[in-house]
Subunit: 161 residues, 2 copies
DNA sequence: TAGCACTCTGTTATAACGTAACGGCCACGC
DNA sequence: GCGTGGCCGTTACGTTATAACAGAGTGCTA
């Protein structure tokens, strides 16, 4: 398993710029267009390791004059998730930037969600969960989400956020 | 791993009555009240192995004169999920009856969701997924959801629903 | 250079999902 | 009787998401 980044102290500035650079490189390679709007949306998601609701993102974008109608936010988020630069957290109806921009596209993702501070760490699920069960049932898994809620180290030790 | 019921042909009548009996027994034991409304909501969920939206359930209830306002459906669903008689499928914003009413309360659930016919099979996740990752991060998992989307055996063989 | 195709963005309107809050009803126990 | 607590009915609203169409920019090509 890989390290689930997000809770441990880290060089967040580097974390952001690495992700942005990876996104730019991936877009160049794939012919996708990381427009100013999309890039800014990704930057906003990258600012913290918390999940951001579509309307929260929209509010941030609107404050910068980048669009203030829901479809603007949803289109940007669709682009980012399709390209693998962000993930949707189903339990929160919210979105986080991908912590593993270098990983294979469409990698199986697993999330650790702190119910106290709201931060989300992403682990790479390198083996499909449910593999045995699915096979038993003759089910073909195309895409799996794993979302765990609990307490991160800081919040366990009473540090709050 | 246990068998993920729901896709394979089975005696659905028995499936329904077993689940209802288990719910009644559990309520009796816990002092919870399986009122007519709640019981009927559970029956409706049990009618198929598909996930039902809260508003779909409400429509069904309303057709029987059992309440036609959103809170009615949500309260029944909250009761059923709290008691472990039903589960919420986050990816679908929808609810399914529990296929393992005999299992430990609050068991870790994992779902196989057919994207073609919409049926949902439930497997018991007897070991916490993410255990290793969570431990690496010092994260305490309280509750995890696993939801896989794909194709069930029938839909793979072109049978549709 | 005019016309076309394509993609991205702007906007309106509405659908779908979910909940807060209050009041009434009923059963139960004292 | 009378309070208590749980359930249900209702109003009103908040949050999340999408369909559909209009406009702007770019690049191709004939």
């Amino acid at each position: 398993m890989s390290d689930p980044t997000g809770f441990a102290p880290h060089d967040h500035h580097a974390c952001v710029s690495t992700a942005l650079a990876a996104a730019e490189a991936a877009c160049a390679e794939r012919g996708a267009r990381l427009t100013p709007l999309r890039r800014r949306a990704l930057e906003i998601l990258l600012e913290s390791h918390k999940a951001l609701g579509a309307y929260d993102l929209l509010e941030r974008l609107a404050a910068e004059g980048l669009g203030d109608k829901p479809p603007v936010a949803y289109r940007a988020l669709n682009f980012l998730t399709e390209q693998g630069f962000a993930h949707r957290i189903e339990r929160l109806n919210a979105y986080v930037a991908c912590s593993h921009p270098d990983a294979a596209e469409g990698h199986g993702a697993a999330f650790l969600i702190c119910r106290d501070c709201g931060r989300v760490a992403e682990a790479l699920a390198d083996k499909a969960p449910l593999g045995a069960d699915a096979q038993d049932a003759g089910f073909t898994v195309e895409d799996a989400v794993v979302e765990a809620r609990g307490l991160c180290p800081q919040c366990q030790s009473g540090a709050g956020a």
